[in-house]
Symmetry: C2
Subunit: 242 residues, 2 copies
Amino acid sequence: MNDPIASQHTSSSVEDYVKAIWELAGANAASTKEISKRLRLSGASVTNMLGRLKEMGLVNYERYHGASLTEEGCAQALRIVRRHRLIESFLLEQLGYSWGEVHEEAERLEHAVSDEFTERLAEFLGHPARDPHGDPIPRADGTLERDESFRLDEAAAGQLVRISRVNPENPSMLNYLGKHGLVPGQTLTVNEIRTVDGVVTIEDEDGKSYSLGRPLAASLFVQGVVEPTNTYPVEPTTTYPS
Amino acid sequence: MNDPIASQHTSSSVEDYVKAIWELAGANAASTKEISKRLRLSGASVTNMLGRLKEMGLVNYERYHGASLTEEGCAQALRIVRRHRLIESFLLEQLGYSWGEVHEEAERLEHAVSDEFTERLAEFLGHPARDPHGDPIPRADGTLERDESFRLDEAAAGQLVRISRVNPENPSMLNYLGKHGLVPGQTLTVNEIRTVDGVVTIEDEDGKSYSLGRPLAASLFVQGVVEPTNTYPVEPTTTYPS
DNA sequence: GAGATTGTTTAGCCTATACTAATCCTATAA
DNA sequence: TTATAGGATTAGTATAGGCTAAACAATCTC
């Protein structure tokens, strides 16, 4: 009577592993230790599951040498990440969740929703390209926007940058940054980078300046912005680009 | 490392049993057979789980005599039903699901969403009192609107009735009824009830008439409507009731 | 190159939840 | 009052996915 008919869903556990490997390593191999730390499981459990994932064709795995995603595993990871980021967008923008609350809920929901739901939600939200943290949302066809951003603490002093995304790992940081308007889209000038302790001093568009400790600075991902030196008048276009 | 901290969620299985018992029996006892049929599980599995549910204090259970919900079990069932019906409302009204698709998705989601999510969703939907099938949505405080409706095939010939809800069990019936506008809120006149084969003939507000076979007629729940004979002008009120 | 350190795997176990087959009750029908 | 049919339970088993403790491999240091 155990009837797996039409179950497009692998188990929640399997999905967690695949996603974790994707987040940890992308196309590279993730070690047992890394995975066990991230999922808060014992190493033994991870070893065990990696064997199973290999059987399923989701990872390449050789003992003592970590695991990397196969093509299929990677596709699966992107499906989960797409679900996750769309759900986060919905929770934040429509249901009024705060940045801190959102992650845990999305973490549970991402294993329960169908592809049907996901695509209808995407439609409902207007097919956003990025979630509220600024992370790109994988597309339904399994492609993912290339991300050119780098950590704020790797910027150069004097550089003009725009916040492209915020590491969603730590809710209290998220809330802090959100409160000060340090959210995706904001433009900042990097005033000083103290390599000794990692403190980064920045100035926002209103001229307010902040000193961010290393953990905060490492949570902010930015892209370089080229200050236009010569501005030519923009030719009027006949159509209105969105 | 198995850490059930702060888990307001009982397992999905437990929730399914509790909900099934509620739907089958309300305050009465449900038999092992009934439960096993509804959940599509073997009788042995059900017996086993009923023992466990009793340990948890969710049901009263004596072997060979079925199980009924305890107060706590009932409260839990109502929480799940509330989640289910709110989710169904959202899927139908906001995401554009059809009546047939909605049930399965809600069935999965109801086990994944938190109370936080549920209440925010209720707010988002404007705190509806009934779901799109016309079923009353249990309130956050655990109370449930009394339902005065009866099955269409138990109406009297000549009676004027209003559809109050539609049994959501059978998707294809739902779709059929929906296509013909036989949805909650519609007013009908019962023309004839053939007790021999259970066929009910009705007439809708536009004068169109339908013959419904027994299964369809038993899926439509209606309330009697009293045709106003004397209409008095309504006194104006000084406050605007919502 | 020999330890020492740290990460990985193996072995053995546990729980939740399902299953089948066999047995046991209960209620109904004669 | 008893036979019997059908529902309920028990016994034994399976699978997924965790765990700990102990053994093992790889790497880093001297």
